[in-house]
């Protein structure tokens, strides 16, 4: 992504924060949490709300979505450089959000593919399949897996 990211801060071994500055200032949190599968972590991302809770379904509409996502990608790059053996799982909080992420990945795939191998998870509730992401093929993905090319 060619967007200049926001400055971010590591506040815990697996947690980062930054502030989105658009129509208003919104504190964002990015978190990597180990999943049941070995060496796979979930990328969680959401807004810090005024009452201190977090919301990963917020549609903040702050006018800086690509800059926010660029910052998440920079954090992802940093974290995976520190932990090159991990695979990062991520999905949108809704189907629409996952579709949005798919469109963005498709747009920036050529840049992304220089550093990462990207898999898409497709399927139904019963049985899923993991396939190498192909920017030319339009599929409905459930989630993505990203691994740094060592």
């Amino acid at each position: 992504m060619t967007y200049v990211p926001y400055a971010y801060k590591r506040v815990a071994p697996r947690r980062f924060v930054f502030t989105s500055v658009g129509r208003s200032e919104i504190k964002k949190v990015v978190e990597f949490v180990p999943l049941q599968a070995k060496n796979v972590v979930n990328l969680g991302f959401g807004d810090l709300l005024p009452d201190g809770s977090f919301d990963d379904e917020a549609n903040s509409n702050n006018g800086d979505m690509l800059k926010v996502l660029a910052t998440v990608v920079y954090i992802l790059k940093y974290y995976t450089s520190q932990h090159p053996k991990i695979t990062v799982f991520f999905t949108g909080s809704t189907k629409e959000r996952t579709r949005l992420y798919t469109r963005i990945i498709r747009t920036y795939y050529s840049l992304f593919a220089k550093e990462f191998v990207l898999y898409g998870i497709v399927g139904s509730d019963k049985d899923n399949e993991t396939i190498l992401f192909d920017a030319e093929v339009k599929l409905e993905y459930l989630a993505f897996l990203i691994k740094r090319i060592n």
């Binding site: 949490v33 999943l35 049941q36 599968a37 399927g123 899923n128």
Partner: protein, 55 residues
Amino acid sequence: MPIAKKNTARKKMKKRPSETVVVVESRISAKDTLFPGKVAKANKILSKTKLPSGI
């Protein structure tokens, strides 16, 4: 002082065995998360997914 009284006095002065206090610190689990719903969703999807080799 009679010997019996001395012994009683010594017994009284004997230190009681000290008590050991164990402080258990609470620890945040590695799996603690701000987004438990997302983590549960991720585990559910992965449980039905065969991961490619190399992961």
